[in-house]
Amino acid sequence: MVETTTRRIEVEHIMGTAISIDLRDAGVEDVVMETAFDWLREADARFSTYQPQSEISRLGRGEVTVEECHPDVGDVLMLCEDLREETEGVFNAWRCRPDGRLDPSGVVKGWAVERAAGILRRGGARNFCVNAGGDVVCRGEPEPGRAWRIGIRHPREAGAVAAVVHGYDLAVATSGAYERGDHIVDARTGMPSRTLLSLTVAGPSLTSADAYATAGFAMGSAGVEWVAARPGYAPFAVTASGRVQYSDAFADLLVGGNPGRSATRGR
């Protein structure tokens, strides 16, 4: 094959999932990618609810105050509070676990990966894609003159895509219960939503895309319109009955084969 673009791909297992960085720039030093991975490991150590000695676990048990934690903890809790207000309590980091412990996991990954993308950019990278267990942020282009193409996994067929979107600076996050079960609940009721199989959110920042995907999925079918009302963000949902729902803004991102163009489009 003709190698037309420099490509470096590294995969590391962090936050309980695989995170890959696909870097298409020549001349970016290896240490830049290492720094991004170091940051993701650091965020995992600080925010993991699976590690009893992480700051977030200690904070949840009341052993330390927010002021005694790293400033990032305060930043993440602020994000959680904003999202709690924006969702009128559907997302609530203080009330999403059966044991009532603090769990900001719904926003941490997107926030941490968006910041990793910032590290790559500051290190001189312009064209790259970071995939953190299915949450994707891409910047620039994969090869000259072409936009990144991001497939959205079919919720019941691991090898199939339900849609493909494209863009040059694009973040795409998907929430669903098909990989790890009913881990997303409506914090007001403690119940998981089963009306959607998956909810994907595309937009400029993975911090918001991930947060909106999590919260919108917990809302069930109402979450699709809720996400559509977030400025700059676009939803794509697969419902339990096997239909897809998406906003006009999402339709603009679709590559060819738009599954809904020829069908009735509600207004």
Partner: protein
């Protein structure tokens, strides 16, 4: 990015296309014509160099990433349906075969899923391949499940 800057409450488009059904065969899903699949292997040679500066205009049919030839065997992994392992063959820069090496038969539900999934898996991974994607978004998979994911194949084959 092409998303509109301000989105009011945008009506959601409801596609009546059935994307899938557990019992429904493949033709219910949007898919590429069979011809695309059967002609898959030698096509990358037809693609001009995308960096050719004399042809700067990209087209939607611009070929996607090509993959490094070889056979990639995913790790054996367990999910709620049992053990699964896949082997992906890349030839001429494209995924030409996906073989399920182990399939779950241990429980009644597993058997149902397995019988359904076995013949489908082959076609469906080809379908993802034919979509020419750079990366795949989905619900967060575990580190173990990554080994058999399409994303893992994309990451490996690019290397």
């Amino acid at each position: 990015m092409p998303t509109r800057a301000a989105v009011a409450i945008v009506a959601t488009a409801i596609a009546v296309v059935l994307l899938f059904s557990f019992k429904t065969p493949a033709q219910a899903r949007p898919r590429t014509p069979a011809a695309d699949v059967s002609q898959a292997s030698p096509t990358p040679s037809a693609s001009p160099s995308p960096t050719d500066s004399s042809a700067p205009t990209p087209t939607p049919t611009n070929p996607g990433p090509t993959y490094k030839d070889g056979t990639y065997t995913g790790q054996d992994f367990q999910n709620q349906f049992g053990d699964t392992q896949v082997k992906v063959t890349i030839s001429g820069g494209r995924i030409t075969n996906v073989q399920a090496l182990q399939l779950p038969y241990d429980r009644q539900r597993s058997a149902e899923i397995s019988q359904y999934a076995a013949p489908q898996l082959h076609d469906e991974v080809l379908q993802a391949q034919s979509a020419q994607i750079d990366s795949l978004s989905g619900a967060t998979y575990t580190s173990d499940a990554y080994a058999q994911s399409v994303q893992s194949a994309l990451d490996q084959a690019h290397g």
